[in-house]
């Protein structure tokens, strides 16, 4: 499935986190009560649905093999004109990026420039590595062009590989390189950071219980509306 995904631009917006994006999520799939926690569809390069929207691939295809076959068949139709992906796949901001990286148990690469142009230049340099055969799908990325501090994590100018806290509440900088680092130094830093990143097995219910005990709660800007989740737990 991961191999089949490489022919696509894969996008995973975070539900309930952005009002503008919520319109797209509703277009893809919306239940009777509005947005649900998850939504899924295959889209054409202009964002038009190629398949009916649903809550998940299993709702649409049932079996992994059927899903992979659908991915391959769809990709084949676009293969002739498809160009390589070059943009760095980033998350919206540091808070969300830490949360997503924690949930996926991936390292987070923070790119910080002195201004937007500098951050974009760093991101272009990093993107080549991010899409390389060796490193694709290994990490999440976020781009900053201002000094940002979140839960005592204040990334310096340049590129930092971060081990997120299990709840996305800050993280530890594993490796940092300055903005002027060349491609070779950057590649070495990423490889070292990814190697140092620890995947700590977690158990769902214990993770939730510990959050309750510590009073950790995630606030989303959009009210949670999934009818499959009891109202008292939203």
């Amino acid at each position: 499935m991961v191999a089949a995904s490489r022919a696509f631009v894969c996008v995973r917006p975070q539900t309930y986190e952005d009002a503008e994006e919520a319109k797209i999520l509703s277009y893809v799939f919306s239940g009777r009560s509005g947005l649900e926690n998850t939504s899924f569809a295959l889209l054409d390069p202009t964002g038009k649905k190629l398949t009916a929207g649903s809550r998940s691939p299993s709702m649409s295809y049932g079996e992994v093999e059927r899903f992979v076959a659908a991915l391959d068949a769809t990709a084949a139709k676009y293969a002739e004109k498809a160009k390589p992906i070059e943009a760095l796949p980033t998350l919206r901001n540091l808070r969300l990026a830490l949360n997503v990286a924690a949930a996926d148990m991936r390292p987070l690469v923070v790119v910080r420039g002195k201004d937007e142009a500098a951050a974009q230049a760093l991101a272009r340099k990093l993107a080549k590595l991010a899409w390389s055969k060796e490193l694709v799908g290994e990490a999440h990325y976020v781009m900053l062009h201002e000094a940002v501090e979140f839960e005592a994590l204040a990334p310096e100018l340049g590129t930092s590989v971060v081990q997120p806290d299990p709840y996305g509440l800050g993280g530890k900088v594993l490796v940092h390189v300055k903005p002027e680092a060349d491609a070779k130094a950057l590649a070495k830093a990423l490889a070292t950071g990814f190697e140092q990143h620890k995947v700590e097995a977690r158990e769902h219910d214990a993770h939730v219980r510990e959050a309750r005990r510590r009073g950790i709660e995630w606030e989303s800007p959009i009210p949670l509306s999934d009818p499959h989740v009891p109202e008292r737990r939203r």
Partner: protein, 89 residues
Amino acid sequence: MPSPIRLTVALLCALCTRAAPLAATQGAPPPAPDSERPPGPLPIHEQPTEPGIAWFGTWSEALAEAERTARPMLFMSAAPQCQRVPGVW
């Protein structure tokens, strides 16, 4: 024949994490919607064994890149919290 719940778990897992497809089909990580989650404690993840899907995190950037590259999009939204607890899908 795997149950529909198990398939949902496997597919969501493979889409939302970097876990290997084989591990997923063996029923490892279960970030399934609450209504589809079997009762009792379940592991969030098994040790990843291979890289995962390379996700764009925002619609606008993904759309721009899909238009530029003429590639189709695999769209899967998810809430980065469970019962308002972060660090889990």
